[in-house]
Symmetry: C2
Subunit: 145 residues, 2 copies
DNA sequence: TGTTGACCTGAGAGTAAGGCTCAGGTTTAT
DNA sequence: ATAAACCTGAGCCTTACTCTCAGGTCAACA
């Protein structure tokens, strides 16, 4: 199998495969013409990498896991260890994204009733500077919002 | 005001301010000693940048917005235009993060009952390869999962 | 006056996970 | 024979910073 064939069979871009080769995650043999040759072990490896990425592991994590397995050790303890901080980070990022989307939606909503501001030297853009668009600032006594 | 003073007064790192100077978002005067001098307009500008960042605008967006304002135009139309794709992207990222956290939590939960796998050549790590950890795969008729 | 420590500068590289582009080589089909 | 389609390694691009570097400045203290 060549790069594009593997790419198609595993639904990833050829660029991604080249990237994995570059960083050492995949180590295909090389044919006499210099082309990479991907056989079944490499294909399984790629599938594994994609599954691990889908669970939030970084390429470096995956490198570590694969190295465990290559040394004949069970990679499971490493896997159980590594996922904890990743999950923690993912939760934090999720919360940050929730807060961001909320701020943005609040902003867009409140902007519907605000006219465009004119330059005056006191502000740059009142839409942005106008309020902080947090939750608390929008549950108030507004009666016609 | 020098970099660290501005940094403290606006709760950002000095490195961030230097970065904004580097990319042209802030253009402080320079004293005879070569040091940057931040006066009130620059301070307001920084505050604006931070507020805009908090609403999900990229530094490039902010550059555009500030340039509008400098040309004496109202930046509001640009602001209304730019936030749409940003909001769209933020929602997509949010959904991706929700799905990711869910997959990760499902995985961690199911791993509690799974023993560490031993290397056998058929798999790299059964924890990761074992199932796809999606929602559908976990509401089924499994009685001892 | 010398020196220390805290600050300043621009420039360059690093981060994550690829994407894109380049010049040059290979293979396949017409 | 030649053109299309593929291959290679290498290097730069993305985001919004962060870190490090070498060298310059400044205030205080001995």
């Amino acid at each position: 199998m060549k790069v594009h064939e593997l790419a198609r069979s595993e639904q990833v871009s050829a660029a991604t495969i080249r990237h994995y080769v570059r960083v050492g995650l995949l180590q295909p043999r090389k044919g006499s013409n210099g082309y990479h040759v991907f056989a079944e072990p490499e294909q399984r490896r790629l599938r594994f990498i994609r599954q691990a990425r889908g669970l939030g592991f970084t390429l470096e994590d995956i490198q570590t896991i694969l190295q465990d397995a290559e040394k004949g050790q069970s990679p499971c303890p490493t896997v159980r260890q590594l996922i904890e901080p990743r999950l923690q980070q993912a939760r934090e990022k999720l919360e940050a994204m929730q807060a961001l989307v909320e701020r943005m939606e609040n902003a867009v909503a409140s902007w519907q009733e605000q006219p465009d501001c004119q330059p005056c030297g006191d502000h740059i853009c009142l839409l942005i500077e106008g309020s902080d668009h947090t939750e608390q600032n929008r549950g108030g006594d507004a009666s016609h919002e």
